[in-house]
C-alpha cells in the first residue's frame, strides 16, 4: 500500500517536473550495494534496512534487482576487486559504503567510464564522478558541546571517547567537539580515549583512565560507547556524569532506566543505519534521469529527553535506533541540495 502510494507520488512528481516522455523507466535497472564491513550491529541494521526497502522495491517493479555484497576482510583492495566484478556483471548503479575515501577511486572511475552510476554514502569516496551522501560529522561533534553548554552553563571537565584511530569519521567528529570546546571555554577536555565505537573497548579504555581523572561533569562520545562509559563509571563507584549517547538500544534503554529512577537527562546523536536506503533511492532517482547534485547531506538522528520513549519503542531490543528512508525523503534531500 505504502509502496504503491510512493510510486504514485513519484510518478506524479516526475510528471509535474518533466514532460512524461522524458521519464526514464528504472524497472529494468539493476542496483548493487558494495559494502566493506558487516561485523557490528550498526552494519547489520544497515544491511537489514537495505534488504527490507529494496526487497519491496524489487517486488513492486521499481528496479529489477538490488543485491547486497559485503567484503570479508574490510580491505580497500578487496572492495576494489568487488566493484570491478560488479562492472562485469552489468549493474546499472553501484551504491558504496567504502573502506577508504581514496583507495577505491580507480575502481570507481572505471565504473563511471562504463556508464555506471556510483553513489557513495557513510564511507564516501572522493572520486568526482561519484555521488556522495555524507553526514556532517563535524556538526555532530559541535552539537554535543552546544547541548552541554546549555545543560552546564558553569562548565566543567569533559572526558572524550573517540572512535577508531585513523578513520576520517573519528577525526571529523573529534574536530567538531574541539571546535565546540574552543567556543565554550568553560569546558576542559580532561582526558581522551579511543573506544573504537565498541561498548566493551570503550569500557576498558574508560576504566583505565578514570582513576587518574578529576571529577568529570560530562562525557562526549561518538556513538556505541555510551553504555560502556556508564558501566565504567559505575564500576569505579563514581557519580554518573552527563553521557552523550549513541543509537544502540542498550544506550537508550540505560538512559530510560536512569531517567525513570532519578530524572537523568542527556541526548543522543547518531547516524541512522537506514542511510543505505536513502542511497538506494538517490541511485534510483539518478537512473530515473533526475538532475542530482554530487554532494548531498543527510541529517543526523537526534534523540532528546522528550522523544526518548517513542524512539526506544521503535528500536528493536538489542538493535540500533534507525530510520528507513522513502522515495519522498530522498527527493526532499535532493531538492534541498539545489
Amino acid at each position: 500500500m505504502n509502496i504503491r502510494k510512493m510510486l504514485l507520488a513519484s510518478v506524479a512528481i516526475a510528471c509535474a517536473a518533466v514532460p512524461a516522455s522524458a521519464l526514464a523507466d528504472t524497472s529494468g535497472k539493476k542496483i548493487a550495494l558494495s559494502n566493506n564491513y558487516a561485523g557490528n550491529s550498526w552494519r547489520q541494521a544497515m544491511l537489514t534496512s537495505w534488504e527490507k526497502i529494496t526487497g519491496e522495491a524489487v517486488k513492486t517493479g521499481v528496479v529489477a534487482a538490488a543485491d547486497a555484497f559485503t567484503t570479508a576482510e574490510n580491505q580497500a583492495t578487496e572492495q576494489a576487486a568487488q566493484i570491478q566484478n560488479m562492472i562485469l556483471q552489468g549493474y546499472d548503479a553501484i551504491v558504496i559504503n567504502a573502506a577508504s575515501p581514496t583507495a577505491l577511486n580507480g575502481a570507481v572511475k572505471e565504473a563511471c567510464d562504463a556508464g555506471i552510476t556510483v553513489v557513495s554514502f557513510d564511507g564516501i569516496v572522493t572520486e568526482p564522478c561519484a555521488w556522495r551522501i555524507a553526514v556532517d560529522f563535524k556538526e555532530m561533534g559541535r552539537s554535543e558541546v552546544e547541548y552541554l553548554a546549555k545543560r552546564l552553563p558553569q562548565g566543567g571537565n569533559v572526558l572524550e571517547i573517540r572512535g577508531l584511530a585513523g578513520v576520517f569519521v573519528d577525526d571529523a567528529i573529534s574536530g567538531g567537539i574541539h571546535e565546540g570546546v574552543a567556543k565554550y571555554p568553560q569546558f576542559k577536555i580532561a582526558g581522551s580515549v579511543h573506544g573504537d565505537w565498541a561498548q566493551d573497548v570503550a569500557q576498558r579504555a574508560v576504566a583505565g583512565i578514570l582513576p587518574s581523572l578529576p571529577e568529570i561533569a560530562a562525557v562526549v562520545t561518538q556513538g556505541g560507547d555510551g553504555y560502556g562509559a556508564a558501566q565504567a563509571f559505575a564500576a569505579a563507584k563514581r557519580p554518573t556524569p552527563i553521557i552523550i549517547m549513541g543509537n544502540r538500544q542498550d544506550e537508550l534503554a540505560w538512559w530510560k532506566e536512569q531517567k525513570d529512577a532519578n530524572g537523568y537527562e542527556t541526548m543522543s546523536v547518531s547516524i541512522a543505519p537506514g542511510v543505505s536506503t536513502l542511497a538506494f533511492w538517490v541511485a534510483q532517482q539518478i537512473l530515473d534521469g533526475k538532475e542530482v547534485k554530487k554532494d548531498l547531506v543527510v541529517p543526523f538522528l537526534r534523540i532528546d529527553q522528550d522523544n526518548l520513549e517513542a524512539n526506544l519503542e521503535k528500536t528493536p531490543k538489542g538493535g540500533v535506533a534507525n530510520v528507513e528512508y522513502t522515495l519522498e525523503d530522498a527527493q526532499a534531500v535532493i531538492n534541498s541540495a539545489k
Binding site: A38, G39, N40, S41, W42, R43, Q44, A45, T48, A72, R162, A165, G166, G191, S192, V193, H194, D196, A198, Q199, D200, V201, Q203, R204, A205, A207, G208, I209, L210, P211, S212, Y227, G228, Q231, A235, A236, R248, Q249, D250, P316, K317, G318, G319
Partner: protein, 316 residues
C-alpha cells in the same frame, strides 16, 4: 642473593618489572591517589587476556607454525550464542557455560580436522575456521544485543575482598594450566612435541592426540572468555573478539614463552596482560595523541621482549 639471582633469570620476571614501572608512572600522575582504582581495573581487564592467552600459549608451545587465529571469532560466537540461549534467565547460567564449553570443543575439533585431515597449515586452517565461526555468530543473532542473566552479570562485575571475580576465575584457570604444564605427562608431551616432533614420535608420544587436545583446549578457553566477557560488558557484540587476536599472541610472547615452541610459562601471561592494559592507560592518562600512543605501545613492547630475550641468550 641467590634467590634474587634465580628470580632475575626467570623469563617471566621482565613483564612484571615492566608492569610495576608502568603502574608507578601512571599513578604518579595523580600523586598516588589512583592506585587502588587503577589496580582493580587492570586486574579486571587483564583477566580476559589471561584466559585467552593461556589457550594460545598451549598452542604456540606445540612448536613452529602452531597458532590459533580463530580465537576472536570463537569469543564472539560463544558470547552471542550463550547469551541468546540464556535469555536473561538465571536458571540457565550453568547450562549456558556448558554450551560455551561445547562450542569450544566443536570449533577445536573443526580446527584440528582442517589441520590434520585436509593437511592445511594451522595458520590458514584456523583463519578459515574463524571466517566460518564469525559468519555463524552473525547468522545467529544479526548483531542483536541480549543482556546477560542478572546473577551472572553481578558475579562478573563485582569483587571479593577487593579482587575482581573475573580475575579470581582467571587465577584458578591459570593454576590448573600451570599444573597441567608442569606436573602432568600431558604438559611434558606438549613441550617435547614443541622441541621436536620427530623425536617426540620416536619416544612414543601420541603426537596427534596431544595436538588435537591442545587445539580443543585453546578453543574452549577462548569460548569461556567470550562467555564471561559478554556477561561482564552487558551483552555480546559482533566485534567483541577482534581485539583478542593480537592480544592473545602478544601476552604469550611478552610473557616469555618461546615463540619457537617447547617452552612455556604461565606467570608471564599475567605480567604481560597487566602490562598491556597499563601501557594504554598510562599513555591515555598523560594525554598523548593516538598516533604517538600506538607508536609508543609498539616501542615499549619491543623493548620488553628484547630485554627478556637478551637475558635468556645470556643464560644460554
Amino acid at each position: 642473593m641467590n634467590a634474587l639471582r634465580s628470580l632475575v633469570l626467570k623469563p617471566w620476571i621482565w613483564s612484571f618489572v615492566a608492569t610495576v614501572i608502568v603502574w608507578l608512572i601512571t599513578i604518579m600522575f595523580t600523586g598516588g591517589a589512583s592506585a587502588a582504582g587503577l589496580s582493580q581495573a587492570a586486574f579486571t581487564f587483564a583477566a580476559f587476556s589471561v584466559i585467552v592467552g593461556i589457550g594460545q600459549m598451549f598452542v604456540i608451545t606445540l612448536g613452529p607454525g602452531n597458532i590459533d587465529l580463530s580465537v576472536p571469532a570463537m569469543i564472539t560466537l560463544s558470547g552471542t550464542v550463550t547469551l541468546k540461549l540464556m535469555g536473561v534467565d538465571n536458571a540457565l547460567i550453568l547450562p549456558g557455560l556448558a554450551i560455551a564449553i561445547g562450542l569450544g570443543v566443536a570449533v577445536g575439533i573443526g580446527n584440528y580436522a582442517f589441520i590434520k585431515l585436509l593437511r592445511i597449515p594451522p595458520i590458514i586452517a584456523t583463519l578459515s575456521m574463524s571466517f566460518i565461526v564469525q559468519s555463524m555468530a552473525i547468522w545467529t543473532n544479526r548483531g542483536i544485543r541480549i543482556k546477560p542473566p542478572a546473577l551472572l552479570a553481578d558475579f562478573t562485575t563485582s569483587t571479593l575482598w577487593g579482587v575482581p571475580n573475573v580475575a579470581l576465575v582467571a587465577f584458578v584457570l591459570s593454576v590448573i594450566a600451570w599444573v597441567l604444564l608442569q606436573k602432568t605427562v600431558y604438559g611434558r608431551w606438549i613441550s617435547a612435541i614443541g622441541q621436536s616432533i620427530p623425536a617426540a614420535r620416536m619416544a612414543g608420544i601420541p603426537v596427534d592426540g596431544v595436538r588435537f587436545a591442545t587445539y580443543v583446549l585453546c578453543a574452549v578457553l577462548a569460548s569461556i572468555c567470550g562467555y564471561m566477557l559478554a556477561s561482564f560488558s552487558g551483552g555480546a557484540a559482533l566485534n567483541m573478539g577482534s581485539e583478542y587476536l593480537l592480544m592473545s599472541i602478544a601476552v604469550v610472547v611478552i610473557g616469555g614463552t618461546a615463540v619457537a615452541g617447547g617452552d612455556s610459562n604461565v606467570p608471564g601471561i599475567w605480567g604481560a596482560s597487566l602490562f598491556l592494559f597499563l601501557v594504554v592507560s598510562m599513555l591515555n592518562t598523560y594525554g598523548l595523541g593516538a598516533g604517538i600512543r600506538l607508536v609508543m605501545t609498539g616501542v615499549i613492547i619491543i623493548a620488553v621482549i628484547m630485554v627478556a630475550s637478551g637475558r635468556k641468550r645470556g643464560r644460554a
